[in-house]
Symmetry: C2
Subunit: 390 residues, 2 copies
């Protein structure tokens, strides 16, 4: 156990911890069995005696377990740091927060970047292709390991929201409340298409070396940067891009009649691409996008989404954003319809925002109020008082 | 002059012709002077004695002059072949159609793929960066050369529509009617961003060789394919992708847990990428996307779009498609507002279609009826009878 650097006053070094644990075996959806695998995870706050106050936060495609702490590579504050702390939305005096780097990730959990114990070499493309179901099954082993029978809440945005849905569907008795945000019960054709562009960009980079770049000592940073740039556009709304950049020029008063970044939006995108490659693994990007592509909760249940939630005791709060065109509101509505069809306890909020898909990571007061209201209500119902964890 | 292969019965080999002409000088917006340049163009139908029946068709980013003839590389029918022919929308017994490969293109007009006479080597990145204004100025020299004072109509979709707007703005007395389709008076931040992804994909390909791939004997086909794949997604609507492909698998009954094209949409996109590189030049792609990025008609007129059309005599028909998210209806509406502000003759039709931006190239009866109605009305007003050109 190593204490990470502290980025935020909200992170109490006495209760914030980075852990790793060896788990297994795990039979994957592909049929491959992982005998042992590592999960790297963060916790914030303390588990109460009844072990009833744990919130599992599921991170998105390029997220990680550094919810509130400074990221060890970039030094930037955790991706939901503004929501974590005593008295905050994720009240660390009331809840214990758990966030695990997903299986297939590249921040310490077993994935293509890690060494395959059987060969002594990095997994690379010999790592088995995983699914959202596998990611959640690995998390369930972690929750077993922590001795937690039932999570108070499972929450996450985007691919994190897919994990929330998978949790609620596969382990309904182990989830008290579930909050899928800006998510979908299946990946759309357009989203598969965008992922495929990203994968092709990576695999087109000769430095990818057929996936063996770690062995070869190369880095497909150009392909990964292009993948990130394409994806990044989909995380924003046209309105947000226009407000932020419009056609404003970058450090110049007129166009240069060349291929430098004349426009601020170009400069911004290039920056997004080049900083991403410092913190992310190209093969991990392939595996995780593939897991999202494969996600189709209805298909796992005879083609009827409602069957995924039959007689569910889970309390749901489904959240979408008006300007999110990657996971538009209609996807959330389809989830809500399925939940209504099985008379599940569900509330649904479409948050008015012009920030696009990324709104779930940004300062969106209405969104945060929605989460706070739902969490507080459910926690009270569950008998979790503030300071319950102290 | 070479007769191209005939793909369509609508193409009359007696009146369909492929031509090239040397023109110049042309002072570009960048200040560079092109002393001589080549324009490759197609004509269909015959110019009448009054030279009043010419329609200039402006092609889009990856289009070309093969409006109705089979494409010389792919052998596929021309991109608007279904609209061309005697008695058809583009009635070749009534009009002469002219379509020129744009300056900077790669189908015979001077561009980065052609040899720079001064050096005896391909231009590559030494080709000057061009604008939509330059492209139109080159076309105007062609129209001069053909002895045509006033075009009956200038029409085009997407970047073709930008050219239409530029024509109407720069040469209002030379345009009787103008039809900008699925276009915008300025390229948006999101569209610049998508273009930048494409350019970065090309320039990230080591075979691009800093733009000198023709000299080096390489071909940045991987980068260009990725660029095309990303762009292609933006040409379709989410609905069209869903209807066409959904999550259907490609020649298999279950996913393979690998990175092959499991989904039809992946296979389709890969095909789009790989066929595109056979017919298009990577540097041309850089130059033409840049010209679109730079397009901002209001900025050329003191920041007020209406100023681009002051006292215009041109009759406009502005067309957009409901599901086009690349050049959404609001962009067309902004053009119409500007035209209304100067009391221009303008009709505006938003065509209900779920086919996205590409609708202007597809079988869209309502769209075709709109064009036919407008063209026929204007032609009658202009005194162009059917068979006028015979």
């Amino acid at each position: 156990m190593v204490l990470p650097p502290i980025s935020s006053q909200a992170v109490d070094p006495r209760t914030s911890r980075c852990h790793t644990v060896e788990l297994g075996p795990l039979k994957l959806d592909s049929g491959v069995v992982l005998e042992r695998f590592t999960v790297a995870y963060q916790t914030y706050g303390r588990l109460n005696a009844a072990k009833s106050n744990a919130i599992l936060i599921c991170h998105a495609l390029t997220g990680d377990q550094y919810v509130a702490d400074a990221h060890p590579v970039t030094g930037k504050p955790g991706w939901w740091h503004m929501l974590v702390g005593p008295g905050n939305l994720f009240d660390t005096s009331r809840y214990q927060l758990i966030c695990a780097n997903i299986l297939g990730g590249c921040m310490g959990s077993t994935g293509p970047r890690e060494v395959n114990p059987a060969s002594g070499k990095p997994w690379g493309l010999s790592f088995p292709v995983i699914t959202v179901g596998d990611i959640v099954a690995a998390q369930a082993l972690l929750i077993d390991h922590l001795g937690i029978d039932q999570l108070f809440c499972v929450i996450g945005g985007s691919m994190g929201g897919m994990q929330v849905l998978e949790w609620a569907s596969s382990f309904p008795e182990r989830v008290y409340a579930a909050v899928p945000i800006a998510a979908a019960a299946r990946h759309s054709a357009q989203n598969i298409a965008f992922h495929e562009v990203g994968r092709q960009a990576i695999m087109a980079d000769p430095d990818w070396m057929g996936g063996d770049y770690l062995l070869a000592g190369t880095n497909p940073h150009r392909g990964l940067a292009v993948a990130r740039m394409a994806a990044h556009i989909t995380y924003l709304s046209e309105t947000a891009l226009h407000r932020k950049f419009g056609r404003k020029l970058q450090d110049r008063t007129q166009v240069t009649y060349g291929f430098e970044a004349d426009f601020q939006v170009e400069s911004y995108l290039r920056h997004q691409g080049s900083t991403f490659v410092d913190r992310f693994d190209a093969n991990s990007y392939l595996y995780i996008t593939r897991a999202m592509d494969y996600f189709d909760l209805a298909a796992q249940h005879g083609g009827v989404l409602a069957n995924a939630f039959k007689a569910t005791p889970v309390r749901f709060c489904v959240v979408s954003f008006t300007s999110d065109w990657l996971f538009p509101t209609r996807e959330s509505r389809a989830i809500v319809h399925a939940l209504n069809a099985v008379a599940a306890k569900v509330s649904f909020v479409e948050v008015e925002s012009d920030k696009g898909h990324d709104a779930f990571l940004l300062d969106e007061p209405e969104f945060h109020k929605t989460l706070a209201g739902f969490l507080d209500g459910q926690a009270t119902h569950r008998g979790l008082t503030a300071k319950a964890a102290e």
